[in-house]
C-alpha cells in the first residue's frame, strides 16, 4: 500500500484526467514535482475547484493539454505566471468553470449519475463557452424554468496530500470533505502524507467522520513537507517567502520544479 513517490506518480498515465484540490486543502506539491520529472504529458488537469502553484508548475513544464478550473491563482502572491501566459498564447485548452459546477459534477460522479442539475449560471459567459453543458426546462415546473445540466466529471486519478494515513491505508482528511468527494468520484486515488501511523483511525470513533477509507485509496507515499511551499493545516503554514519567490520566478530554476 505504501510506495515511493516515484512509484506513486508512475500510476498517473499520460493523457489522464487528474483532479487536484485547492491550495487550502492539501496539495501534493512534492508528488507534482516527481510527476514533472517523469515527464507526464497531455494531462486534463481538473482543479477542484481552483489551483495555484501546482497547476502553474505543470503548465510551465508542458504537462497539461487541458486545464479545467474555476480559478487559477497564486492568491495574495498574484496571478499564476505560466498559466496566464499559456492562456494568452492559446497553448492550453482552457475549460473555464465555476466552483459549484465542479463540486456538483464530482458529486454526480460520486453518485454514479451521468449528469446533475445546478442553479445559477444562466446568462453567464462561463455557460456560453461550455457547449458540454446544457440548459433544459425543469420537467417538474409548470411555468418556464430553465436550468443547467452538467455532465458528471469522473477523473481517472485524484492526487492530494494529507497529514497522515494509518496502518490500513485510511487517510485522515478532517473537515476537508472535498477530498473525500474527489476520491469517491475518481477511478483511482493517490495520496501523499506527512507520515503513516501504526494505529487504526477506526479505533477512535471521534476521528472516523474525518477519515477517507482505504477502500478508495490505491496507494500512499510518504512525503514529508509534501505540500511545501503550500501548507497543511495539521502540520505547517504556507511558506510566504517561498511563494513570493515563486511568483517572482526565482523559487525553482526556470520554473522546472524538479
Amino acid at each position: 500500500m505504501t510506495v515511493s513517490l516515484d512509484t506513486l506518480v508512475a500510476r498517473i498515465p499520460d493523457g489522464a484526467m487528474l483532479v487536484v484540490p485547492a491550495d487550502y486543502s492539501g496539495v501534493a506539491v512534492a508528488a507534482t514535482r516527481a510527476l514533472i520529472a517523469r515527464g507526464v504529458r497531455g494531462l486534463h488537469l481538473l482543479a477542484a475547484p481552483t489551483s495555484g502553484i501546482q497547476a502553474d508548475l505543470l503548465i510551465a513544464a508542458g504537462c497539461v493539454a487541458t486545464m479545467e478550473a474555476a480559478g487559477v491563482t497564486l492568491g495574495e502572491f498574484g496571478t499564476a505566471p505560466a498559466f496566464n501566459a499559456a492562456v494568452r498564447a492559446g497553448n492550453i485548452r482552457m475549460l473555464d468553470s465555476t466552483c459549484p459546477a465542479i463540486h456538483a459534477a464530482l458529486n454526480a460522479a460520486e453518485k454514479g449519475l451521468p449528469f446533475i442539475p445546478l442553479r445559477g449560471l444562466i446568462g453567464s459567459d462561463v455557460l456560453r463557452h461550455r457547449p458540454d453543458w446544457r440548459v433544459m426546462q425543469n420537467p417538474f415546473a409548470e411555468a418556464p424554468d430553465p436550468i443547467v445540466l452538467l455532465p458528471a466529471l469522473r477523473p481517472d486519478v485524484a492526487l492530494f496530500h494529507a497529514a497522515a494515513a494509518d496502518r490500513e491505508g485510511n487517510v485522515w482528511v478532517g473537515r476537508r470533505r472535498e477530498l473525500a468527494v474527489m476520491a469517491h468520484a475518481a477511478r483511482r486515488t493517490l495520496v501523499t502524507v506527512e507520515r503513516v501511523l501504526e494505529t487504526c483511525f477506526f479505533d477512535r470513533e471521534e476521528l472516523v467522520a474525518g477519515v477517507l477509507p482505504a477502500l478508495y485509496v490505491e496507494a500512499v507515499a510518504v512525503a514529508e513537507r509534501g505540500a511545501w511551499p503550500l501548507g497543511i493545516d495539521e502540520a505547517y503554514a504556507p511558506d510566504a517567502a517561498a511563494l513570493a519567490r515563486y511568483a517572482a520566478g526565482t523559487l525553482f530554476p526556470a520554473r522546472l520544479a524538479a
Binding site: G71, V87, G123, A180, F201, D233
Partner: protein, 251 residues
C-alpha cells in the same frame, strides 16, 4: 485610500443580516462583517472562507454553495476586474475570450452566488474607466436575469474607493449614494465608464470618528488578523503572532 471609511460603509450596507460570508482575499469585507457582527451583539453569523476560527462549515468546500442555495446566506461580497452599468461582473479576461490581452484568475463561485445570495455587495477599491466600463468583455455573472430565470439573489450595492452606488433593480442601473471624503460627484462621473443615476445633492460617505476608528482597529486585530495577518499588521500596527493556527487534531 482610507480603509476605515470602506469598512464602515460596508458594515452599514450589511446592516442586520442574519448570515454574512466573505470569500478569498477579502480582508476589508471581512473586517466590515466582523464590525457588523459586533453591532448585532454577536447574533449575526459571519462565515469567513479561508479561516478556521471564523468558519463553522463541516461539509467540505461545497457547503458554502449548498448553504446559499438553501437560503441560509443573506449577504456575500463579489468584485470584478470589470464591472458595467448593468452590474455585470468580469473576473476572467479582457479582450477576445480565446486570446485575451489580460487574463485574471477566473470566475470562482460568482456565476452561482451572484444569482442565489439575496444581497451581494460588489466591492472594488480601484475605480477608473478601465474597471467601471460600459460593457464587460466577459460576463462572469450577470447583473440581472430574465423573469423566467430562477434568481433569488443579485447585487445590492457597489462600493469603490471613491463612492457608494446603490443598485436599482427595477431600473437596472446604479445610483450614486455617497462620495467618500475628498471625492466629488463630478470626479466620480469622470472616473466612471458607465452611466448611472445621480441625485441633485450627493451625500458624503460617513467619515468614521475616533471611537469608530478605534473599534475598527480592534476588530481587525482581534478578528481579522488570524486570516489576514499582513493586512492586520499594516492596518493597525498591531503585533501578529504568525504561528497562531487553528487547533491541531491529536491524531
Amino acid at each position: 485610500m482610507d480603509d476605515a471609511v470602506l469598512i464602515a460603509a460596508l458594515a452599514g450596507l450589511i446592516g442586520t443580516a442574519g448570515h454574512v460570508a466573505t470569500g478569498a482575499l477579502s480582508p476589508i469585507p471581512m473586517a466590515a462583517a466582523m464590525l457588523a457582527r459586533r453591532r448585532s451583539g454577536g447574533r449575526m453569523r459571519v462565515t469567513v472562507l479561508g479561516s478556521r476560527r471564523s468558519n463553522r462549515f463541516t461539509d467540505g468546500a461545497k457547503e458554502l454553495f449548498d448553504c446559499a442555495a438553501q437560503g441560509r446566506l443573506d449577504v456575500f461580497f463579489l468584485s470584478g476586474a470589470q464591472i458595467d452599468g448593468e452590474a455585470n461582473i468580469n473576473l476572467l479576461s479582457v479582450g477576445d475570450y480565446a486570446r485575451p490581452t489580460q487574463r485574471f484568475s477566473g470566475s470562482f463561485g460568482a456565476p452561482y452566488l451572484y444569482m442565489l445570495v439575496p444581497r451581494v455587495i460588489l466591492f472594488r477599491p480601484g475605480h477608473d474607466r478601465r474597471a467601471l466600463v460600459p460593457r464587460v468583455d466577459f460576463v462572469s455573472a450577470p447583473g440581472w436575469s430574465a423573469p423566467e430565470v430562477y434568481r433569488p439573489g443579485g447585487p445590492a450595492a457597489l462600493v469603490t474607493g471613491r463612492c457608494v452606488f446603490d443598485w436599482r433593480r427595477a431600473e437596472r442601473r446604479f445610483a450614486l449614494r455617497s462620495v467618500h471624503p475628498g471625492e466629488t460627484a463630478a470626479g466620480v462621473r469622470a472616473a466612471t465608464g458607465f452611466d448611472y443615476s445621480e441625485p441633485d445633492a450627493v451625500a458624503q460617505t460617513e467619515l468614521p470618528d475616533a471611537a469608530l476608528r478605534a473599534e475598527i482597529s480592534d476588530v481587525v486585530a482581534r478578528d481579522v488578523a488570524e486570516t489576514y495577518p499582513q493586512f492586520a499588521a499594516t492596518f493597525g500596527g498591531q503585533g501578529f503572532d504568525g504561528a497562531a493556527q487553528g487547533a491541531r487534531p491529536a491524531l
